[in-house]
């Protein structure tokens, strides 16, 4: 029976007759999106939180206390420093102290605030009402993000007058202070995005807070340390930046010359990184807030593919910019591919085992194409995506290497290319194995937790297992280059060992080459075999279930 045919005005019950969304429409149907945008244009959740902020008695108190503490801190540091230092140095010191404090506040409190807000909403008694009332997951994610970010920006606005103290001492320009506030805003965006994602995943607000704040604190401390270390490197490129000052980005942005490195490293890279991070957290939030039967995969997969292509393209093209450093470029490129693929495997391990009946029906109604379906729910498809993307990254890097070999044959030996090809092939096979293993484990589990745990165990075992076995069998004492490669051949350490040892070793011994090739073929066969087995298992166990009347076995997702 066609529902559309039955929807005559006479068949409707009630008084109003506005057309509903089309059958099978997603949670945020086009009509609803239009309604949101055209009629009001403001995210309702954000608006609701603003109303609640307006009535909150704690908020002005918190902001006032924060301002007083920051003022006292800056004045104390300034007073102590001005006894021994000249004003310009005091200004610079105050600038660093103030923005380090602001950075900590923004990242710690912003993430905690966002995590609590979303988790309270998600686990609250009114969540069902929101879902049933048509509040879509993207709308919810955007609203929560905007509300938390508003709070963070309010804090920054309250703190802004105190920042001018460092300017008054000298040594810091207004552009640097503006740039630092921009950096704080960007850090706030990422921290709030992270908190929102954690809040959407966590089971309770307390859990969300316990995960979000320590993680954000740890990440901010690491970033602060990275800032400290990189300041010395930046000092070499742009001498206007003083080494040892963790907050160097605004200084470099304000004072460095606008060459191609300026635009690439100071503008393009931070912008891309922040956008990619915020986009990722947004997609994780949307996927976590979506209902079990909805398509929770496509958007996350789109992020993974887009960022992967961008990352691999940039890393491969860097070899063209710096052709003399081919070995280093290849190592960086392969490391990026490996890390990003591992990140993808871990992230996508929680994907649904197969599309729900609801999604299948939607695809059928919308006549969705094969490509779009490939990016839909399904852990085997997700892992295949990881493999294909890794192949693309490795292939791009290999093509660039071949191109350089062809264009400048005198600068590079043919053996380098052979080593590189072997490394590429081995890495791709090993990533295939990991993807297949995760797909196989996920097909037999109810969530992504156990596949992730098993993957960690397998990675550790494969990485250190051969060395332990070699030690047990007494081979450790006679470790030479050949035996190291032989021992490493079943583990990804083989690639590292090959890359580092071959220049010193000279010619490639056939036995070692064979061991490496054999190991990579085994990984590939195992990976593809497990992907196939996972797909067969899912097809066998998943399809007959949705309308069965028996209880679900614990290993199978129904919707």
């Amino acid at each position: 029976m066609d529902p559309e045919a039955e929807l005559s005005p006479e068949s409707r019950v009630g008084s109003m007759a506005t057309l509903p969304p089309t059958a099978g429409a997603a949670a945020s149907s086009p009509e609803q999106e239009d309604f949101e945008e055209s009629s009001f244009g403001v995210n309702p959740l954000w608006l609701r939180e603003l109303w609640l902020y307006g009535r909150s008695q704690r908020m002005p108190l918190t902001l006032a206390v924060l301002t007083v503490i920051a003022t006292l801190l800056v004045c104390s540091v300034g007073a102590v420093a001005s006894l021994t230092q000249e004003p310009a140095r005091v200004g610079n010191l105050l600038y660093q102290v103030f923005f380090a404090t602001a950075f900590a506040w923004v990242t710690w409190v912003g993430s905690g605030m966002a995590a609590t807000l979303v988790a309270s909403e998600r686990r609250g008694s009114h969540w069902d009402v929101l879902a049933v009332s048509g509040v879509s997951a993207p709308l919810m994610a955007r609203g929560s993000f905007a509300a938390s970010l508003t709070w963070v920006l309010l804090c920054l606005a309250m703190l802004s007058p105190i920042a001018s103290v460092s300017f008054l001492f000298g040594g810091v320009s207004p552009q640097e202070i503006s740039g630092a506030f921009l950096a704080m805003g960007a850090a706030g965006c990422v921290a709030v995005g992270f908190g929102t994602a954690v809040g959407a995943i966590a089971s309770t607000p307390a859990t969300a807070l316990l995960i979000a704040v320590p993680s954000a604190a740890l990440m901010s401390l690491v970033l602060y340390g990275v800032g400290f270390v990189t300041s010395y490197m930046v000092d070499m490129i742009w001498p206007v930046v003083t080494g040892g000052m963790p907050l160097w980005w605004p200084t470099a942005l304000a004072r460095a010359e606008g060459d191609r490195y300026y635009w690439l490293l100071l503008v393009g890279a931070p912008l891309l990184l922040c956008t990619a991070a915020c986009w990722f957290f947004y997609e994780v939030t949307v996927a976590s807030l979506s209902e079990p039967g909805e398509d929770r995969s496509t958007r996350l997969r789109a992020w993974f593919v887009t960022c992967g292509i961008l990352l691999y393209a940039v890393s491969a093209s860097s070899a063209l910019w710096l052709p003399a450093e081919r070995g280093m470029n290849a190592a960086i490129s392969l490391t990026l591919v490996t890390l990003f693929s591992l990140f993808g495997i871990y992230s996508l391990a929680g994907d649904d085992t197969a599309p729900s009946t609801r999604v299948l029906r939607q695809w059928s109604q919308e006549d969705t194409g094969a490509v779009r379906r490939f990016f839909g729910p399904g852990v085997v498809r997700a892992m295949l995506t990881v493999c294909l993307l890794a192949a693309l990254g490795i292939g791009l890097q290999w093509l660039v290497a071949v191109g350089l070999q062809w264009s400048t044959p005198a600068a590079h030996s043919a053996q380098d290319l052979t080593v590189l090809s072997l490394c590429d092939g081995y890495l791709l096979s090993f990533l295939c194995f990991l993807a297949g293993f995760v797909a196989h484990a996920r097909a037999r589990s109810v969530s992504g937790a156990s596949p992730r745990l098993l993957l960690t165990f397998v990675l550790l075992t494969v990485a250190i297992g051969p060395w332990i076995l070699a030690s047990v069998f007494g081979m450790a004492d006679s470790f030479g280059a050949d035996s190291m490669l032989l021992v490493a051949s079943p583990s990804p350490a083989f690639v590292v060992a090959l890359a580092y040892l071959m220049p010193a070793h000279g010619a490639l011994p056939g036995g070692l080459l064979l061991a490496g090739l054999l190991a990579s073929v085994v990984w590939l066969i195992l990976g593809l075999g497990m992907l196939y087995a996972a797909q067969r298992y899912i097809e066998r166990e998943q399809i007959p279930l949705p309308r069965d009347s028996t209880p679900p076995p614990p290993s199978v997702q129904w919707i």
């Binding site: 019950v13 009630g14 609701r48 009114h126």
Partner: protein, 367 residues
């Protein structure tokens, strides 16, 4: 805004089962609700009412079976089903620091609210116009339920799923709420009402279902259930047996009786039950719940003089429960007598003692 497939029942539940962490919460539930009816599902705490409400509202997909709202499957056509239903959870409202108008505006902006229905309309319909700018924190329970109803009515649905709308409301406000629900039914809405209390529900609902331990033990009109229970059938026999068990045996035995169990254990229970004399059941007595502004002791004193009155029990809420013999004339005489003696009567409601007894016998509750 509301829509339904022609000839489709407002709610059709077929073989629905649901599990939470491996345990069964609902087992093979089936019922239908025709359009413009009020269907009440009565069950004790933990019987699965809230889970059923969530499944009916499309907030959760059932693990087995299917639910259709106005002909639209709640899993496959969740969006369309949602356009046809309004859901009032328990508790009814959140965000205590929002005002009534802000709360409704939030849902109007966020959800599927009708562009033709305005907040003032639903407030007028639910008689909350005078509290439009009050904070939700300042509303009493009855007003919160009405606000929840107003929110559920924002998109003018044809079906309302109400989870415990009257359970925490005091008797005076409960009457107003019941009157409002009747009005909604009369205006064309279908209402599925889930409640842990029988009082009031039986009078309000066109049909009721009795839910216990995840099973729908009985459903139909009040008369149908009473009639069915009175028949000399296996089911009736089991009900009576259960009634005795509920009186004489501990809760664990009663629970096990309701679950599938081996024939040997069933026979053992029957033997134990049959060896116990049945309790005195005064089925012929009718009951009347009387609310007045006078002292219950005064009411009791006046009523004790009447021959028709068997017993008078003062209830915690200030009303009195009168057990009497006779027909409606007897009730009229009693009320007349009370008024003559200066008792200021607010209301007099007949109580479905028979239905209550059946409910308790089916669910194993204390009689």
């Amino acid at each position: 805004m509301t829509m339904a497939l022609s000839n489709a029942p407002a709610v059709a539940v077929s073989g629905v089962s649901h599990f939470v962490t491996g345990a069964s919460v609902l087992r093979n539930i089936s019922f239908t609700v025709e359009q413009r009816q009020i269907f009440g599902i009565v069950g004790a705490v933990g019987s699965g009412k809230t889970t059923l409400a969530r499944l009916l509202s499309t907030a959760r997909p059932p693990h087995a079976g299917s639910i259709a709202i106005c002909g639209f499957d709640t899993v496959l056509e969740a969006e369309r089903a949602r356009w046809s239903l309004g859901y009032l959870p328990h508790p009814a409202v959140a965000y205590a620091n929002l005002s009534v108008a802000e709360y409704l505006e939030f849902f109007q902006r966020a959800g599927m609210a009708s562009e033709t229905i305005r907040i003032d309309q639903v407030l007028q319909r639910t008689r909350l116009q005078h509290r439009k700018h009050a904070l939700i924190a300042s509303l009493n329970e009855g007003q919160r339920q009405r606000l929840g109803l107003a929110r559920a009515l924002l998109h003018d649905p044809s079906v309302l799923i109400l989870d415990e709308p009257i359970s925490k409301v005091d008797p005076m406000r409960r009457d107003a709420l019941i009157a409002l629900l009747r009005e909604l039914r009369d205006s064309g809405k279908t209402i599925v009402l889930l409640s842990p209390i029988l009082s009031g529900v039986a009078e309000l609902c066109d049909r009721i279902g009795i839910l216990h331990a995840g099973r729908l033990l009985a459903s139909g009109t009040v008369d149908e259930i009473i009639e069915e229970s009175g028949q000399t059938s296996l089911r009736s026999g089991l009900s009576i047996l259960q009634d005795r068990l509920s009186l004489e045996y501990p809760a664990e035995d009663r629970r096990s009786y309701l679950d599938p169990m081996p024939a040997k254990r069933l026979l053992s229970s029957v033997r134990r039950a049959s060896s116990t004399p049945p309790p005195p059941v005064e089925e012929s007595h009718k009951r009347l719940r009387l609310r007045s502004l006078s002292d219950p002791a005064q009411v009791k004193a006046v009523l004790s003089e009447s021959r028709e009155v068997v017993s008078v029990e003062a209830l915690p809420d200030g009303s009195v429960l009168i057990a009497y013999q006779g027909d409606e004339t007897a009730v009229a005489d009693l009320i007349e007598k009370l008024v003559q003696r200066g008792v200021r009567i607010i209301s007099a409601e007949p109580q479905h003692t028979e239905l209550e007894r059946i409910f308790r016998s089916l669910t194993g509750g204390p009689s």
